[in-house]
């Protein structure tokens, strides 16, 4: 059928055309602005950051932006590095790997970025890894926790580093705490609910592997795998109820975890089983969940009391004063990355050359509010971050939301990580 009565407005009057032309001209001038070949001394050192600023995980990207900008502000206010200031350029890849790859190239080629902080989630970080390998561009991955990104020699690149958690480290820590808890309570039957994608599967497998290692009588009786960003978990919750496990593990994160907790509470799930949720400890998650259950074990993400030091408290205050969003796990990881970059630049005398930066960063140890004993290290052999806070806390209903941090000793983690690498043929 045709609806001709609502007459379409024919064509355009001249004014609209002129306005359009003016807009086109404005865009044109914008384009002639690039490609910008800037590479002089005393110009700012540009740090390119592809990340996710729209869609369901925008909060994580925004907290990364806030953290990076805040660290850069502090460094520049203190006089910069060898007289040069730092400047960050952000791009929204919407989490799409090919967009992340293209934007990384653009950041280097057009914006003249000399350093890349890859603030992408797992999927896109592998794409960025290939780009910086190809371009021989110094890069630090700041958010991808997938162990194989740096552990698998296939993915290792001489000038690429990682300044964030790694699944295997959390798995060892989680396994140790969980084994202790289940042994005390005499629990054996586990169920898992994790998002159905690479991170979710690898993380859950690693966690259960270590629970089984430390508590051999453990048995996984059911696994349920909701899709990433699935809005409704009712069918998964009832699947868990049907199986009647004693303990539950989940690596759901962000809004998905919030929805799962609220929906599971309707069924009284957390009154029935002991639960471990590695990603529960992020502030935006904890504050968003309305029926916040007490007594759930939560992996350490970022918390102002973990570690409970004046430096960490000060970092939290400074971040909050300069950010619209709450700090997340991504926030501290990106802040740490900026600190590593600044420290490496000091060692190279402000030269951002890829090879010099790579040499300066390998094995670098910095003072940091996020480290055990106040230091963080990027390990020389596999270019990944160590000595950060690993462990589990227990939730309470009100602030500070989590208490009783059970910290895992890094000596334990190193031991089991080495075995894990051997098992997987990585070392």
């Amino acid at each position: 059928m045709k609806k001709s009565y609502s007459s379409p407005r024919r064509g355009l009057d001249r004014r609209t055309v002129l306005k359009g032309a003016a807009a086109a001209a404005a865009v044109g001038t914008g384009i002639t602005g690039f490609p910008a070949y800037l590479k002089a001394a005393n110009t700012p050192i540009k740090i390119g950051v592809p990340t996710i600023l729209s869609g369901r995980v925008a909060i994580l990207g925004e907290s990364s932006v806030s953290a990076i900008n805040n660290e850069i502000r502090k460094i520049n206010e203190a006089g910069g590095i060898e007289g040069r200031t730092l400047e960050a350029v952000f791009r929204d890849s919407r989490g799409k790997p090919d967009e992340a790859a293209r934007m990384t190239r653009d950041l280097v080629n057009n914006e003249g970025c000399e350093i890349i902080l890859d603030a992408e989630a797992s999927g896109a970080s592998f794409a960025v890894n290939e780009v910086v390998r190809d371009m021989q561009q110094f890069c630090i991955h700041t958010n991808s926790e997938t162990s194989s990104l740096t552990a698998d020699p296939k993915n290792q690149v001489d000038w690429v580093f990682r300044s964030c958690r790694q699944g295997i480290h959390d798995a060892v820590g989680g396994g140790l705490v969980a084994a202790k808890v289940v042994k005390e309570k005499g629990l054996k039957k586990w169920a898992t609910i994790s998002p159905d994608y690479a991170y979710g599967r690898a993380n859950t497998e690693e966690f259960m592997e270590y629970v089984k290692l430390f508590a051999p009588e453990t048995e996984v009786i059911t696994e349920t795998w909701p899709k990433l960003f699935q809005p409704d978990y009712t069918e998964n919750v009832t699947a868990l109820l049907n199986a009647q496990p004693e303990v539950l593990y989940s690596c759901l994160w962000g809004g998905d975890l919030v929805a799962f907790f609220d929906q599971a509470s309707l069924y009284g799930l957390f009154d029935q089983f002991t639960a471990f949720a590695v990603n529960l400890g992020d502030y935006p998650v904890l504050t968003a969940i309305k029926s916040r259950p007490a007594g759930v074990y939560s992996g350490s993400r970022y918390h102002k009391d973990i570690p409970d030091t004046p430096e960490n408290e000060a970092w939290y205050e400074s971040y909050m004063a300069n950010s619209d969003v709450l700090p997340t796990n991504w926030a501290w990881q990106n802040a740490a990355a900026v600190n590593f970059v600044a420290e490496a630049l000091k060692k190279t005398g402000g030269d951002a050359d890829t090879m010099k930066m790579a040499e300066a960063t390998a094995g670098l140890t910095i003072d940091s509010p996020f480290g055990v004993d106040g230091t963080l290290t990027i390990r020389e052999e596999d270019h990944t971050l160590v000595n950060y806070m690993v462990g589990y806390s227990k939730t309470i209903v009100d602030e500070p939301y989590v208490v009783g941090f059970d910290q895992t000793a890094w000596s334990e983690i190193y031991k089991h990580e080495a075995d894990w690498k051997k098992r997987n043929g990585y070392a």
Binding site: S6, G55, R56, I59, D232, T238, A239, D262, Q263, G268
Partner: protein
């Protein structure tokens, strides 16, 4: 790929059966509310509202804010529905009515543009954080036990409202004066308008009503699903599957298809957890191949 043992074990225990059947119904009913709006608008106005998910999001956010301000969930649900409805009327008058009768792509594009704009506006107004309303005090009750299965009282309310609204909207279109005018206008607008009836007003109202249905769904989902910008996209795709399977334009068809889809999801999560999405698209493809008009749709398509 299919775990028959788990499936058989579940289908033979009453607890599992009750749990999965009710969870299928719950998922299905929210889908039905959104899809019934899509199908209603298509059935009468012959435009496909690709932006329908945005009204679901608008309903959820409006309900959230109202609940935070007043603490009254029923008022919040009402505001969510009416707010989405008003936004729908504005959208129809200002944007969609300009592409009536134009090709499908024009409709698709304006809707896509609208989705982008609304998602960004929501991010500007409410922030990018996940928000959660939480279960209203009235419904903070332990789950009911039924043949060994669990049924939360809030979900009973949700399913009841959805069925009530579904029946109501069928009656609205088939039995009331409003419905008759709208349907007549859809068939022959100049004729109806010659009778002194302002058809544009009726079209806008119908469009708004369809969007209000999505708004109700959003308000009903708000207590249990997390609110984020872009939350409308997931349900949009699923509601299109429902609309197509049920038959474009058929509300009873949407109801049937929503239940089929809900059960596919809930049974699938036990029997073939890795292929739930694939199964949904497979059903859609099969229906389109063998009965393009959908299960309960009418009319020639070839």
């Amino acid at each position: 790929m299919i775990d028959f043992d788990a499936l058989a074990a579940c289908l033979s225990t009453s607890a599992c059966l009750v749990n999965q059947a009710t969870s299928g119904l719950i998922i299905g009913m929210l889908l039905f509310l959104v899809a019934s709006g899509v199908t209603l608008i298509f059935g009468v106005l012959h435009v496909i509202n690709f932006a329908h998910g945005s009204f679901y999001m608008i309903g959820a956010y409006f309900a959230y804010t109202t609940y935070v301000l007043t603490g009254n969930y029923f008022l919040a649900a009402l505001v969510g529905a009416v707010g989405a409805g008003i936004c729908g009327i504005l959208f129809e008058r200002l944007i969609i009515s300009r592409v009536y009768g134009q090709n499908l792509l024009m409709q698709l594009l304006v809707c896509y543009a609208f989705i982008l704009i609304v998602d960004d506006l929501v991010k500007i107004i409410w922030g990018a954080e996940y928000l959660a309303m939480g279960i209203p005090a009235e419904f903070r009750l332990p789950p009911l036990r039924f043949a060994g299965g669990f049924v939360p009282p809030f979900y009973l309310f949700l399913v009841g409202i959805a069925v009530f609204i579904g029946v109501g909207s069928v009656l609205l279109v088939t039995k009331t004066r409003f419905g008759k005018i709208v349907r007549a206008a859809a068939l022959n607008a100049p004729m109806v308008s010659a009778l002194g009836i302002r058809v544009n007003v009726y079209f806008a109202l119908l469009f708004g009503f369809g969007c209000a249905l999505a708004g109700v769904a959003g308000a009903l989902a708000a207590p249990v699903r997390s609110l984020t910008p872009g939350m409308g996209l997931g349900i949009l795709v699923e509601s299109f599957i429902v609309t197509v399977i049920g038959g474009m334009g058929s509300i009873p068809g949407a109801f049937l298809a929503a239940i089929i889809l809900g059960l596919t999801r809930s049974i699938g999560s036990v029997g073939f957890p890795l292929f739930v999405d694939g199964a949904m698209f497979m059903i859609m493809a099969l229906v389109l191949i063998f009965r393009p008009t959908g299960l309960l749709g009418q009319g020639a398509v070839r």
